[in-house]
């Protein structure tokens, strides 16, 4: 009789099965041990299955809160995980996670991947996620005493792999494949992702903030890494100026595509017209909102304009605590060649302010709601722009700074009474 009758039903059906992956790990690990390989976590894949079977019976998790575990010199990147069935299943009693910072765009050489797999065959469960939600390689399951030697073996790899973020730190930045494979990329996403990751190694490895902070980078408004929904600081490629049109390629598409129905009519602002006789399209670029639909439809004929750059959206996060948010526009446009510098000029004062005044477990989005957009724009040195809003406010409860008020007896009297007026400056800067 099988020890895992419920899990035995998982591999049914055509989609690849994670249970099969765990079983395969168990079998091949045993084979490797017989062949004399050094494996520090024998039997743990089978124990994972037993524990999971128990969860399937009980309809609840059997993993517990982790204590503080880490590697020397780092505060984040390793997540403690313990089984509440540790007495029965000692193989998974400690089962900590190591987050490994993936290369930008998730490109790998087999030479590098094989070395990482060797490390994880020796020191860990042999199970991993390609990839976790933030983008890291997630090495699932090892004991406290193997964390350090596993990381030291990663240091010795050629090239070495470093640890990613966790806890209240900068989480591992991630980006789309960008110019490596995609013609839509409005700037070099991989280069920016690598640059920010290297610049902020300390922030990435040593939790220091009220809560986590995520950068995600997409080369165009299609946003293949869902930066707009998932990152406190989303960098989304866009452009100014006219969409580039190759009318010869339009004619090719016209051979089989209903351009009127599928391109012209689906343009959200009605900015495209099509001359069916000449088989040419015309775009009213002053009314184009750069949504990408027509470019997605006719990639051979249409290209983003030549003046390229990115929009910064701020504040996206999942529901805990104040509800889910999609990021909103903080900076409508930064030219591509200024991105590396400008992102740093914006994010550093923002971190400093949030670090000083943010509440414990308050994400940037929630913090900015509490502090107000006016103050935020002052902190990052950005002028307000109508492109930041869907529409202006519907209530008249606006704040005014003292310098905006006319001198009056009432103002003097209020000041005499110690009444403070709204200020967009940071408090410490006033002192």
């Amino acid at each position: 009789m099988s020890e895992t009758p419920l899990l035995d039903q998982i591999p049914d059906g055509p989609w690849p099965s994670f249970v099969k992956e765990i079983r395969k790990t168990a079998e091949l690990q045993e084979k490797a041990i017989k062949e004399g390989k050094e494996i520090k976590m024998p039997g743990c894949a089978r124990a994972v299955l037993k524990q999971l079977e128990r969860s399937y019976e009980d309809k609840k998790t059997h993993w517990k809160h982790g204590g503080i575990v880490s590697v020397v010199g780092y505060g984040g990147g390793v997540i403690g995980r313990y089984s509440d069935l540790g007495d029965e299943l000692p193989e998974v009693h400690h089962f900590h996670t190591i987050r490994v910072n993936m290369p930008a765009g998730w490109f790998y050489s087999t030479k590098a991947l094989r070395q990482l797999m060797d490390v994880w065959e020796k020191w860990g469960s042999g199970l991993l996620n390609m990839h976790g939600s933030t983008g890291d390689i997630i090495l699932l399951g090892t004991r406290s005493e193997y964390l350090q030697p596993a990381f030291e073996d990663m240091m010795k790899m050629d090239p070495p792999f470093d640890i990613g973020g966790s806890g209240s730190d900068l989480r591992t930045p991630s980006c789309c494949m960008g110019p490596a494979l995609c013609e839509f990329a409005c700037f070099d996403t991989l280069d920016l992702c690598y640059d920010l990751t290297m610049e902020y190694q300390n922030e990435l490895h040593r939790p220091m903030w009220p809560y986590k902070f995520k950068f995600k980078i997409s080369g165009c408004p299609n946003d293949c890494v869902a930066a707009k929904a998932r990152s406190d600081f989303a960098i989304i490629g866009t452009w100014k100026g006219d969409i580039q049109i190759d009318q010869e390629a339009v004619k090719e598409y016209a051979e089989w595509m209903d351009i009127e129905e599928e391109v012209v009519k689906l343009c959200p602002t009605g900015a495209i017209s099509y001359d069916a006789e000449k088989k040419e399209i015309k775009i009213d670029n002053s009314n184009c909102v750069r949504c990408m639909h027509c470019i997605n439809k006719m990639p051979k004929a249409l290209k983003p304009g030549k003046e390229r750059g990115a929009t910064i959206c701020i504040g996206a996060k999942a529901p805990c605590v104040e509800g889910a948010i999609i990021g909103w526009v903080a900076v409508p446009f930064i030219p591509a060649d200024e991105l590396k510098d400008r992102v740093k000029e914006i994010v550093e004062p923002l971190w400093d302010w949030w670090d000083d005044e943010g509440k414990f477990r308050e994400r940037i989005g929630e913090f900015l709601w509490r502090m107000g957009m006016g103050k935020f724009l002052r902190v990052i040195g950005q002028e307000p722009d109508v492109r930041m809003i869907k529409h202006p406010r519907t209530n008249p409860f606006m704040y005014f700074e003292e310098k905006e008020l006319r001198p009056s007896k009432v103002v003097e009297e209020l000041k005499k009474r110690g009444i403070k007026f709204k200020s967009l400056e940071r408090e410490e800067e006033e002192e």
Partner: protein
């Protein structure tokens, strides 16, 4: 305490630079791609300005994989792709070929040796869309706060929708995502269809654990609804059962606040979110089914709901229309009808932040009957 470090010792060296891992053809044509076309499900032809052509061949994976599987994928990449491969943002693995004649052999080898199916692509020019992989979290496999499993539910759903992954016969893009609790590591709140694990009962406070492991003010402050009171006398906290909305934030902070109830934990189903700006701007997902119980190992209830929602869209959407565009065209009342969903009071927002609540209420008298 300074200890002698070996010469290879280093910290904060960062990830390997991406250009170490780019095949020659990509290095040569970096930033100079002209266009792409999907030549068959799973295979994208990318043409560079130089005239060079590459074919990316995409396969779905179960996200949780074995080191031995990665080695098999590496063997195949060595054989066909000069030793390079990549993953997509949705747990798919991609091989980059320059020789079109090798595509069939590559697909055969991956499907037979590794068991991963080729697909997950869409052809926007021709308006033929395939379903891609489900973004998901750890669930019972490795997480301490989940209300549902992740991998098992994804497996059951993808088995049911498999034909849409390996083909391109949908009217538009459909992104399905799953997060096993409201912490939402998968950030599924902007997907066409999403599942999120929810609890339905307040934490069962473990006074002893609270005393041993938790800071009382922090635990109380962690509650977004001010439902936790400090009981200084007893050195523990108390929960107001009428205010608690079971988010689990307190449990994340304090192990003494477990809120697991196997009979009452389950999944909420949301739909109509998106992140791309194409046509319709980004949009949050909306709850359409308040709760479905955990039914391991195959979750028939969840699968049935997902299928109903998915087919209501797939059978009735116009070309290119995503879920939210479809729903906004036909109206939520018609959508609930078409998908066979019940509308209950839970779906009217009463979470405490007024702008959110108000934003979802209808004003005026424009209805569909």
């Amino acid at each position: 305490m300074a200890t002698e470090k070996p010469p290879w010792w280093k910290t904060d060296f960062g990830p390997p630079k991406y250009d170490l891992f780019l095949p020659e053809v990509i290095k040569k044509n970096y930033g100079k791609w002209a266009y792409h076309e999907v030549i068959r499900p799973g295979v994208i032809k990318r043409v560079a300005e130089s005239g060079d052509v590459v074919y990316t061949v995409r396969f779905g994976t179960p996200r949780l994989i074995s080191i031995y599987t990665v080695r098999e994928l590496c063997d195949i990449a060595d054989k066909y792709c000069d030793g390079y491969l990549r993953w997509t943002s949705r747990h798919n693995v991609e091989f980059i070929l320059t020789d079109e004649s090798k595509i069939d052999d590559l697909i055969k080898e991956v499907e037979e040796k590794v068991g991963f199916p080729c697909g997950g692509t869409w052809d926007t020019p021709r308006g033929k869309y395939g379903l891609t992989n489900i973004i998901h979290t750890q669930g019972w496999v490795h997480c301490h706060t989940p209300a549902i499993d992740a991998s098992g539910i994804v497996k059951a759903i993808m088995d049911e929708l498999y034909e849409y992954f390996v083909d391109m016969k949908l009217p538009g893009l459909c992104r399905i995502s799953l997060a096993c609790c409201a912490n939402m590591c998968g950030a599924v709140h902007a997907s066409d269809i999403s599942l999120v694990g929810i609890h339905r009962t307040p934490p069962l406070v473990d006074d002893d654990a609270v005393r041993r492991m938790c800071e009382l003010p922090t635990t109380a402050a962690s509650c977004p609804n001010a439902a936790i009171r400090v009981n200084a006398k007893k050195k523990t906290v108390e929960v107001d059962g009428e205010k608690c909305m079971y988010c689990g934030n307190c449990y994340t902070m304090c192990p003494g606040m477990p809120l697991f109830d196997p009979e009452n934990d389950g999944a909420a189903i949301l739909c109509g979110g998106k992140v791309s700006d194409a046509r319709h701007p980004p949009e949050l997902s909306k709850v359409v089914v308040p709760w479905v119980p955990n039914e391991p190992p195959r979750w028939p209830g969840i699968v049935e709901y997902i299928k109903k929602i998915f087919m209501a869209w797939a059978n009735n959407a116009k070309k290119h229309e995503r879920m939210i565009e479809f729903i906004e065209r036909i109206g939520w009342e018609r959508f609930f009808e078409l998908a066979g969903l019940e509308f209950s009071w839970h779906l009217i927002d009463d979470f405490r932040v007024p702008p959110f609540m108000y934003a979802s209420y209808r004003v005026g008298t424009q209805f569909r009957w």
